[in-house]
């Protein structure tokens, strides 16, 4: 049964990947805002499947992170090529050139941040800020928006209430991926949610 779930998710992902190729082809022939949104939606469903697969694997004990060094400036540059349409008008990305490298699972962390960015972009009035900062032996990826902030239930850590648009999958995924980032001396990553002048999402990696 368990491997059927994983196989079904893989099948769906493969179909989505083909859909992506067709949408690209269609946009190549005749681009339109509608096709752009369709492509973004396909990317979103793909991200949800990635999250679902990771949660499924965590449940059956076979989720293993691939932690390796990544240049933070390059990582943030790559991340920006995968943002939803219109994001560039709202998003500011802090310069990370001097940060050098950090060890993390770039594939899974990318999905954590993309999910949090989508959420921030949906709720922001005019501005979303993405930054990476190294503080006392930890790397902090911060996403801040100027929207209404997280609902109280989310801040209190209740599951399943991320927003009316979301099942809470994204936040559960983010927590698991953060927690699974560990060091040989036993430190773990975490998610921090705050309301300041908007919502502030922070992924802290050891």
């Amino acid at each position: 049964m368990d491997h059927l779930i994983a196989a079904a998710i893989h099948d769906a992902k493969n179909s989505l990947s083909s859909l992506g190729v067709w949408l690209d082809k269609a946009r190549g022939e005749h681009d339109s805002a509608a096709l752009h949104h369709a492509a973004d939606l396909a990317a979103r469903v793909n991200a949800q499947l990635v999250e679902l697969l990771a949660l499924h694997r965590a449940g059956e004990g076979s989720l293993r992170l691939a932690i390796a060094d990544h240049n933070l400036a390059d990582f943030l540059a790559d991340l920006q090529t995968e943002l939803p349409p219109g994001a560039e008008r709202v998003l500011q990305v802090a310069n990370a050139d001097s940060l050098g490298e950090w060890a993390f699972d770039a594939y899974l962390v990318k999905f954590v941040l993309l999910d949090a960015l989508r959420n921030a972009l949906r709720h922001a009035h005019a501005r979303v800020k993405l930054s990476a900062v190294i503080e006392v032996g930890h790397l902090h990826f911060r996403i801040e928006d100027d929207g209404p902030g997280f609902p109280a239930a989310v801040l209190q850590g209740e599951q399943g209430v991320m927003s009316t648009h979301s099942s809470g999958l994204g936040l559960s995924f983010a927590r698991i991926i953060a927690e699974r980032h560990a060091t040989p001396d036993g430190r773990h990553g975490r998610i921090e949610l705050h309301n300041d002048s908007g919502a502030r999402f922070c992924l802290v990696l050891p």
């Binding site: 990947s17 690209d24 691939a66 060890a103 050891p206």
Partner: protein
């Protein structure tokens, strides 16, 4: 980095993908691009020329994958460090690619991707390769690790962006140069800044190299808890455990195989399981090694020999003999094959109680090994079969010849030791091998001392005799060339001197072009040689 004018090799078994990626590479400015379908064609291309970049799909069909290909071409020095290697993968292959151990691709890219993303990644890798070129220059076939180390410090000062890459190379170089304390200090200073898998494993390797095996093992176990996908940690830990606790080593290799399948690790598992007398597990592992790879590029004689042995030990004589036969199907006819098949069959027949058939097979193996200059592994397999049949003197004679020919090669000496151990003669074998090694060291020292004392004719006679017999011994060949040249210098050079010296220089270079004193002897030859002497051919 401008990609225009760069040369590329594209490897993918699916024609449509090859065409699509080729167009994307052309969009990125790479006009000169060869494309091939499989491992065999890739090896041919990489042997023939050097490329700026290789783009390889993870899944290559026929049970082969891009990671195996990368390991193969890196181990066989077909892929210079300056060539960028980008692995393309679907999301399922990504998990295996991202775990790569000793030989990792420079970067990997998930399908589907755009031309822009492909160009960005390639140019990023090539920028890095260019920055690290001063180090790579001294790490190739004719390299000098001490110069490479000096280049590390220079690049570290001038190119801080690539500090992590340089420090990784520097740590490896320090370990290779046996400067263990400095390596340890480097890894510890990195780990003080941040936790990262390569430094954790590097620190453990440095601890192990300074004899602190227990600390090293503890470090690796902690690293594995934090980085369960980091294959280098499994490999290092299995290597350490192998010395003391083969059952625990087997468990670690089993775990590594769950992370990523590889023919090399199946073989390692098979060999450990054989030693642990876990024959059904050994059979399973060797069967996977033999069945998975349908290209034949990654298999070895040992896989079939191991399969035969594990079947035979379970009383499955027919299956064991079938494995011996399959060995002949999968490798081309050669003395190596004939010797392996006969040695393996001898063991199987003996275990089945067929003494006459075992003797006949062993005679075949011995006859082949007398006529051909066999690879050390093959000769040792024949020696092992001799021990099994109680023909200890013949076994020892073979091992002695191998050890004399390879007295500076720790890997071969360790294999020879394991043949003794398998025959229950571990401590006797250790003494035997040490005595052989010392005798070779003494031969070289005595001859050099004689030459220095002016007894050049005696030195030449002694070394020439040894060099003609031990054609795989680099040190002997180099000393023989040196003695002949000194004789020429003292007694007046003749064409015969240079012909002989050249022969020994080429003999040494064929065995190991990296041998430290080879360059010195070549320079001496060139200095002494009068005009008209045959030059030393370029490699």
């Amino acid at each position: 980095m401008d990609l225009r004018g760069k040369t590329g090799l594209l490897i993918d078994d699916v024609a449509e993908m090859r065409n699509a990626v080729r167009i994307q590479l052309a969009d990125a400015g790479i006009q000169s691009c060869d494309s091939v379908r499989n491992v065999k064609e890739a090896v041919v291309k990489l042997t023939a020329r050097r490329y700026d970049l290789v783009v390889c799909d993870y899944n290559l069909g026929q049970g082969a994958d891009g990671q195996q290909l990368l390991e193969l071409v890196r181990r066989n020095k077909l892929l210079p460090l300056t060539t960028a290697f980008l692995m393309i993968t679907g999301e399922t292959g990504y998990e295996q690619v991202s775990t790569a151990a000793e030989f990792a691709p420079d970067d990997y890219l998930l399908k589907p991707f755009t031309s822009d993303v492909l160009a960005t990644r390639l140019s990023r890798i090539l920028d890095k390769k260019e920055a690290l070129a001063p180090i790579y220059k001294h790490m190739g076939a004719k390299g000098d690790k001490a110069l490479a180390l000096a280049a590390c410090d220079q690049v570290l000062a001038e190119q801080p962006r690539y500090a992590t890459d340089v420090l990784r190379l520097k740590g490896d170089l320090l370990l290779a140069l046996n400067r263990i304390d400095e390596a340890l200090a480097l890894y510890e200073s990195v780990l003080q800044q941040r936790a990262t898998p390569w430094a954790a494993v590097g620190k453990a390797r440095a601890l192990a190299a300074s004899g602190k095996d227990d600390e090293a093992k503890e470090g690796l176990q902690q690293a594995l808890a934090a980085y369960p996908n980091y294959l280098a940690a499994y490999d290092s830990l299995a290597g350490l455990l192998q010395k003391t606790d083969k059952v625990a080593a087997q468990q670690i290799v089993e775990q590594a195989l769950k992370v990523a399948p590889s023919t090399r690790r199946q073989r390692q598992l098979g060999s450990l399981a054989l030693e642990n007398r876990d024959f059904s597990r050994a059979e399973e592992a060797y069967k996977r090694a033999v069945d998975k790879d349908r290209t034949g590029f990654f298999k070895s004689f040992d896989d079939y020999a191991g399969l035969a042995k594990s079947c035979s030990e379970q009383g499955k004589t027919q299956e064991a003999l079938a494995a011996v036969k399959d060995m002949g199907v999968h490798f081309t006819r050669s003395p190596e094959l004939a010797a392996h098949q006969a040695a393996t069959e001898a063991g199987v027949q003996l275990r089945a109680g067929n003494t006459a058939a075992a003797q006949a097979a062993l005679e075949t193996a011995l006859a082949v090994s007398k006529d051909a200059n066999l690879a050390p592994e093959t000769a040792l397999a024949v020696a092992q079969a001799c021990f099994a049949s109680g023909r200890n003197n013949e076994a020892k004679a073979i091992i002695q010849a191998v050890a004399e020919d390879h007295h500076e090669n720790d890997e071969v000496l360790a294999q020879a030791q394991s043949v003794f151990s398998a025959a229950g003669m571990g401590s006797e074998g250790a003494m035997f091998l040490e005595a052989t090694r010392k005798r070779m060291v003494k031969l070289n020292n005595d001859a050099v001392a004689m030459a220095k004392a002016g007894q050049l004719d005696e030195a030449v006679t002694m070394l020439a005799e040894a060099a003609d017999r031990l054609t795989n011994n680099c040190q002997v060949a180099i000393n023989a060339a040196l003695a002949v040249l000194m004789q020429a210098q003292k007694q007046g050079p003749t064409p015969e001197h240079f012909a002989l010296a050249l022969r020994y220089i080429l003999q040494a270079r064929k065995v190991n072009a990296d041998y430290p004193r080879l360059g010195e002897v070549i320079a001496f030859y060139r200095k002494l040689a009068p005009p008209g002497t045959p030059p030393i051919p370029e490699q």
